[in-house]
Amino acid sequence: MEAFDYIEMKVPAKAEYIGVMRLTLSGIANRMSFSYDAIEDLKVAISEAVTNAVEHAYGENESGEITVGFGLYEDRIEIMVADRGGSFNLGEVKSETGPYRSDEPVEKIREGGFGLFLIEALMDEVKINNKYGVMVIMTKYNREEEVDMDDDQISTIQ
């Protein structure tokens, strides 16, 4: 099996911890030598996933936790965001997602619903499992490494 380092954190399902997860991921991705732009993409993706969990997983008077796991592989990072709430209707959230289309009148534009769409646009692979609560598993490859490898190959040929 492919070797990887794994880091896991649990945070209360509260909006004030979204920034904490973003900073944590930024530190991890920086350690893995992701590019500046890739780190910014990762920050948005994790914030969107944690925001979904904060907003949909638990009721107003209910307190809950969000588990975030990071799998650090040679060529990629895998991020898992999971809640154990039951009230997140994934089908509904997914059906409301997507970019703005220019034929839509202004009054009809959704105010939410860009979150999952952004995750899918910014990450390389996204899987969503909603058997027990909702779990988002998203992967981003470290392109910089690929470029380096190609560079090496070119230099060997020369």
């Binding site: 920034g19 904490v20 534009i109 952004l118």
Partner: protein, 110 residues
Amino acid sequence: MNLSVKINEDSNLKVLEVSGEIDAYTAPELKESLMPLIKEGGNQVEVDLEDVQYMDSTGLGVFVSALKASKESGSHFTLRNVQGRVYRIFEITGLSEIIDIKAAIRGGNE
């Protein structure tokens, strides 16, 4: 990770200088400052995002609400000095086509 909003008013020109990060935690504060100015009607409201390096879909939600409200109240709503990374979020979602955005001069429209 906090947000601060400063309002400069000169008759019907209202400029909101926003600095910090816009996410689900800080967006309510932005919305509270922005919406009353838009709803007043007849205002020229400019949101200056020069010092905002991070924004996600919750920020988009606030600006979509503002755009809708501005159509109803007859205010005009503009974003200015939008930084490259933040502009990208508007572009990916297609909202850059409908919101009046003046990107930052440096690398804003890359």
